[in-house]
Symmetry: C2
Amino acid sequence: MDRDNYHSRIPEPALRRLPWYLSYIKLLKKQGYGKVSSTQIAQKINVSATQIAKDLSYVNVSGKTRVGYDIDELTAVLEDFLGFKRMHSAVLFGVGSLGAALLSDSGLEQYGLKIYAGFDVDPAIVGQKINKIPVFHSDDFALKNKKLNAQIGILTVPPDIAQEVADFMIAGGIEAIWNFTPFRIRVPEHIVLQNTSLYAHLAVMFNRLVKDDE
Amino acid sequence: MDRDNYHSRIPEPALRRLPWYLSYIKLLKKQGYGKVSSTQIAQKINVSATQIAKDLSYVNVSGKTRVGYDIDELTAVLEDFLGFKRMHSAVLFGVGSLGAALLSDSGLEQYGLKIYAGFDVDPAIVGQKINKIPVFHSDDFALKNKKLNAQIGILTVPPDIAQEVADFMIAGGIEAIWNFTPFRIRVPEHIVLQNTSLYAHLAVMFNRLVKDDE
């Protein structure tokens, strides 16, 4: 869907499925299992065993057809492959309702995303801290980022300034944008773009609910 | 990707693009425009004019090839079609870091999602309010939901209890589950399932950043 696909050897749909496998084998571990086969994963997750084996062939893990994968090894390999064990530095633009909510979500840090600062222009918010994360004025971004060196910029501004703020972040050194706005921003080819539109997901859900009622 | 696709006449990828168009034409409106053509939308968004015209053919709007669409009419039709103007009632299970963050995000209400209650088992949280939304004990869900009549259940519990809590919500009358956990839950055919895994999106972003560095 996004233009950056060709960078990765692993296809995006496969990459998106890996966290499901990780999540499931962690559960098996808790239940006392030591080994897991792709057939076993397939029974619990809506993906065929063949597809699972293929997806896992992209990561460097040794599975034996009969015995299956060692859960500890597969967990470590997946977490490493998915980048959850390396800390990635981020800043967030637009400390409104959703922005402040994301700053409050300490769960992201467990998955390798550390937000060092929020940026906004609202004097009521600038200078405050949310979940111990300072909020600076957007004008200070380029200067602050020389120190912070953030790779990732989280975009939670109003949609009508989404493009402008994205350009501003990129000018300040951001390499990847996590776009939560419903606005379809454009970025240069070397910039990684990830769209997460909660509102688009809501729309899909609402639409299906209506169809079910008919 | 999800099993519920066949319910909808509009294909999911098209449905997911509609909020982008809505967001863009709202911006044009702010800038003083009254009409918009699919070509004009295509210039700003990474979608061809043909695709846009096709996507918009699913919604009941009259576009004239030369003149384009009336922005006010298209806005109203899209908002109605996407369900953003009707309020959908929801509850949230798992008032941890992400759950509390979603309760705090008043923005969802602007898109038609009203969260009436949170549910958890932690005595430190049960009985509290977040953003004026009460948090009840999970055991009280079936009883509370007779009154609340929530259609949508937001799932933000730890992944190892995601399936169990999903089953519990469905037993209590929930018709759609918005799953934020990285766990791949299974639901009966008549239940709408929307997966929004922030962690899967993080993984895609991290993976592309690494590939870019190589």
